[in-house]
Symmetry: C2
């Protein structure tokens, strides 16, 4: 990023509180503060096992308002029982105390190992320094402090016109392992100066998530901690947008743009991933059938291994489509890889050129097009490949 | 196997027809013949993309009778259109012609690459030699000829009493990659001398499959070719068993024993697999919920990678359970690994001993016990680990 990350009305900071494993020198505690009470909304994991910060933040968002969000990396504070809830309350409470605000206005998110208690004392000890460092230019270090196995920070910032005013939307995400539909171990934070009603923000966020974060898969696993938050400072000075204001569409488009960019960055930074496939399904009886087919192909270990090796094995794409649960007729099935016909009407295409398809499969981004030729349902998914490196990373994460 | 494989009333053989890739010297065409018209039944893949031999064999089994089954390895004859159906008819037709029987009494099964036409001419050319070699002692070579990436033949033979008579049941299977619930790329053949009604055989087979072959997963992928067949020669001389005969239970138990043994062998021979986990789920609201939880854990790439590395990362087991779709309450969740408590009431157990669990995770067979503490539903699943070797095998299967 060449542009400095900043959004009018917000300040950010990060420090090293010692939450990560010994020897890991990265910052691990980060904070964003809004100068005013921000309209806020969130989307959370659908996993039945929900971390303490997810439970607490979801509850605090019922008001539609917040002032700050405290994020830590290293410990997920998941499956930590009542002690975990107490730790999340104590650490957000310390932020509230130092900044003289209500504890219920401080949101929180955690990422890291499951089942280890949050070192609340270390976090509380580091909070004065964290608060002191808050700066309009602190988003860069915020974006680094929240990472775990990510190879690089994931940020997307756009400027857009809202009537005569210039507006800003900044998105910061982390996530590389356990990325799956339903937002596995993904944290993402959106900050904007556009004034907007929290109900509208919630509608936009839920809608956009379905087409962006829920359409990327690394390994099909989902997490206990997934959180996507949006906070609006209103510093742009516009009349706060509600659902009936046409400016809502402009904001929704900006949110979708930023979420889409973050989704792409997550897919490209998949654990051990070396390339991505864009799985495009058309002709399904419904959009939900198209999603089933796209997701099953994107999650298939055999498809992902073939993608990794550049193996033009379209049979695995067909087999994955066939077990997706979507309504289909094998004699209507068409498949293209990199634009080259592989399957026509459920049969190996006469135009199939193994060398050309193998060359297409070796590119950094490969396009799989599947047409069920039954209806109008469409969906697309991003998938990364399955590499030996993925196994190496994930065979020894905890130990 | 020290015991000679054989079943009264059956003969078997295998030859090299040249279906496999050049340089692969293994036999690739195999046949089993019953001396009489055998009561027969089958269970097939639920994949919507179904290979030609699956379509043909399913149709031919409507009669409940068959004389022979022709199996080839190297080419799956899937997604081969009308030419593929013609090839399956021509090759089984040649067996029928030489053995002077109806073509509709010859079943068939194929395994190998998808989308390549079956080399029917090569198979037809090799059929006279194949028929000539038929012998009561040919099952050993049959069991080898049907393998693809398997490291060893998979056979299970048991003898049991049926009243005063001695009965035999022989099972032969292949499958190592793409093994998943719904029987992915698995071929299995059961031969018995017990006389039985084909409807009874079908009932037993469908019931047993649900608890054996459908409860093993290597990678969650399912295939276009999965086939499980049973043929009964009646050579034991018993009064043919029908559903109302109490001997049916004896036969059902024998079928379950053999299928269970074959399932274990498949799991242990998973592509690139080095160890297995037995996932035991209890306390679900229903058996189907228990299956959901067990399957999701067994298929999770993160759980499988942790299993591979011997990493005591029970958080991934909990996260997989949480996204399974089964009804659960995280505060009721208990998890044990190798008998050692890891999670009690949704919280990291105070008895958790990382070193002991790490030691348990390093064994060749690891037990994961999950109790949802909600109801009486139970299920168990066998899962193999995810290794770098799996990726290596599957990144370059076709090329």
């Amino acid at each position: 990023m060449n542009r400095k990350l900043s959004v009018p009305g917000f300040r950010a900071a990060a420090v090293k509180a010692g939450i990560r494993k010994a020897g890991d020198k990265r910052d691990d505690l980060a904070l964003v503060l809004c100068n005013t009470l921000a309209s806020s909304a969130g989307v959370f994991t659908l996993n039945e096992v929900r971390a303490a910060p997810v439970q607490i933040t979801e509850k605090r968002l019922i008001s539609g308002k917040s002032r700050a969000v405290l994020v830590n990396a290293g410990v997920a504070n998941a499956m930590t029982g009542k002690d975990g809830l107490r730790a999340a309350k104590a650490t957000t409470g310390e932020v509230a105390r130092l900044l003289k605000m209500n504890r219920s206005d401080v949101l929180c998110a955690s990422t890291g190992v499951i089942g280890v208690q949050l070192p609340a004392h270390k976090m509380i000890r580091a909070t004065p320094a964290l608060v002191k460092k808050l700066s309009p230019n602190g988003f860069d270090e915020f974006s680094k402090a929240i990472l775990t196995t990510d190879s690089a920070p994931k940020v997307a910032q756009i400027y857009f016109k809202l009537g005569a005013r210039r507006a800003t939307l900044l998105g910061i995400a982390k996530g590389s392992g356990m990325i799956a539909p339903n937002m596995a171990t993904m944290l993402a934070f959106l900050f904007t100066d556009v004034g907007a009603d929290s109900k509208l923000l919630q509608e936009i966020l839920s809608d956009v998530t379905e087409r962006t974060f829920n359409r990327v898969t690394v390994d099909g696993d989902t997490s206990t901690n997934d959180t996507l938050l949006i906070m609006s400072s209103g510093a742009a000075g516009n009349m706060p947008i509600s659902a009936i204001n046409p400016a809502a569409k402009t904001l929704a488009k900006a949110v979708e743009d930023v979420c889409y960019q973050l989704t792409e960055k997550i897919a490209r930074d998949a654990e051990g991933g070396t390339k991505v496939a864009r799985v495009i399904v058309r002709g399904a009886l419904s959009e939900s059938d198209a999603v089933k087919v796209a997701r099953t192909i994107a999650e298939s270990p055999l498809v992902k291994a073939a993608l990794h090796g550049g193996d033009p094995n379209w049979g695995r794409i067909a087999a994955a489509a066939g077990r997706s649960g979507a309504k289909m007729d094998q004699w209507n099935l068409d498949i293209k890889i990199g634009g080259i016909p592989c399957v026509k009407s459920g049969t190996a295409s006469k135009q199939f050129d193994e060398k050309k398809v193998a060359a297409a499969m070796k590119k950094a981004e490969v396009k799989f097009e599947i047409n069920l030729n039954l209806g109008q349902g469409e969906a697309s998914f991003l998938a990364c490949d399955l590499s030996a490196e993925y196994v190496r990373i994930n065979a020894h994460y905890r130990t």
